[in-house]
Homo-oligomer: 260 residues x 2
């Protein structure tokens, strides 16, 4: 299994603190040593960093930890390979352009014998994760050649996720730079930080940050992770099948693909 982390915020926010905790799981406090990657949206652009080397000892990870890249939507993944070799092409997050937007995807879980449906999007590597992403985009592109409404996208997306959730383990994060979508089938937690901000203590490494020193009273920042990253805060645990559409740190819509 792998570790997912996402962020949705209403102001450009860096992830240095959360990343410092997460990267310890990339070979030190966790077994996820088969590479890592992170995507930061800045306006309509996206900056991705990928490294097939273990996260905890990566020069690029050290840059991300120390160089504050501010973003409203972030997707991060550290990998423990089960399907697909340890190569750059198999390193999440994956990115494709659809309707003039960059879409980014990371996955934790496994769907056996998954092949993407027909369409213009094809996997480059050989993970089930990238095949699921291509399948999702092919479904969207087959239904809408031009960009539809957010609700139409969401209906298509949750329909596809209902299929995936019934076929295997599929915790995922997806963003088009406007919003972040999360799906939990087995394990995903989240926390929303807003005023009054206080101190937070990482679980995986000796580090405390006082968010009050780095925020303004209107900031809303949600962090989503496979397992809680801090030890002194109350994280919310998603139930199986739960999806949420995040924007500006808030849940815009939510539901459950395994119910109703």
């Amino acid at each position: 299994m792998c570790e997912l982390m996402g962020m949705s915020a209403n102001v450009p926010t860096d992830i240095c603190f959360s990343f410092s905790g997460l990267m310890q799981r990339g070979g030190r406090t966790g077994p996820h040593c088969d590479g890592w990657g992170v995507a930061f949206y800045e306006g309509s652009g996206v900056r991705c960093f990928h490294d097939p080397a273990p996260c905890h000892s990566s020069a690029i990870a050290q840059l991300i930890e120390s160089y504050p890249i501010k973003s409203e939507n972030v997707i991060c993944h550290i990998r423990q390979a089960n399907v697909g070799r340890v190569t750059l092409a198999n390193t999440h997050p994956f990115t494709r352009e659809l309707w003039g937007q960059y879409w980014t995807f990371a996955h934790n879980g496994q769907i056996n014998d998954f092949a993407a449906g027909e369409g213009p999007f094809q996997p480059v590597g050989n993970t089930d994760s990238e095949a699921i992403f291509c399948d999702l985009l092919n479904r969207l592109r087959a239904r809408f050649t031009q960009r539809p409404s957010q609700q139409e996208i969401l209906d298509c997306l949750t329909g596809a996720c209902a299929d995936y959730a019934r076929r295997g383990v599929c915790n995922l994060l997806l963003s088009n730079g406007e919003w972040l979508f999360s799906l939990c089938t087995t394990k995903l937690s989240w926390i929303t930080r807003r005023a009054p901000f206080g101190p937070a203590q990482l679980r995986d490494v000796e580090m405390v940050v006082d968010f009050q020193e780095h925020t303004t009273p209107n900031d809303v920042v949600t962090v989503i992770a496979t397992e809680p990253l801090t030890s002194n805060e109350q994280w919310n645990t998603c139930e199986s099948g739960e999806w949420r559409l995040w924007q500006g740190g808030e849940t815009l819509q939510q539901g459950n693909v395994l119910k109703g």
Copy 2:
């Protein structure tokens, strides 16, 4: 105008030396201070770094200069904006997936009022460069839904380039990870280094490298750049319309899109 740099090699090779010279042109010895980017292929994967900040003072550029990422195909670009604002979305190189391969593109020049033809590939930013790239991929995808032969790709590619070259300034580098394609309409130079290797002196900064210490006798490494990067070597100057298909540091095919 911008600065292009590409590399084609028959063994994974780092670009730290050439990049050290090029990055000086990003705001120090050159005016190209509107961001920069670089794409390194590793197998079928590609690692891209983008920064809308000036290259010569970028923390990410310093990482690239000091952290040897070895690749057989590299495309690098530093930007002086003429069309399109200075944003991450407008920062070259651009990447798209076609036929299960990542295609990467960087452009130097300008084609006024260029709009990409119909097809699944749409620009995210608002540069003529990204529109040209999407147009090129839409032409390839319209003609071939599955991956054709290299010769069929090349025929389609050079046909499109003949159009572009007649409409404006279009120096470009393009790769799918297997090969590197270069087109010159106004300014492009290249050098192939092979045994016996010797010392090279950068033009833009006080730095000498003795390639003999870093190579084996069978290595073949071609560097392509808008202007020669070294002062003590003989670079080849492309003529207007000249294209070359590079693989393993050698020219596989060449021609001229402005001649019969």
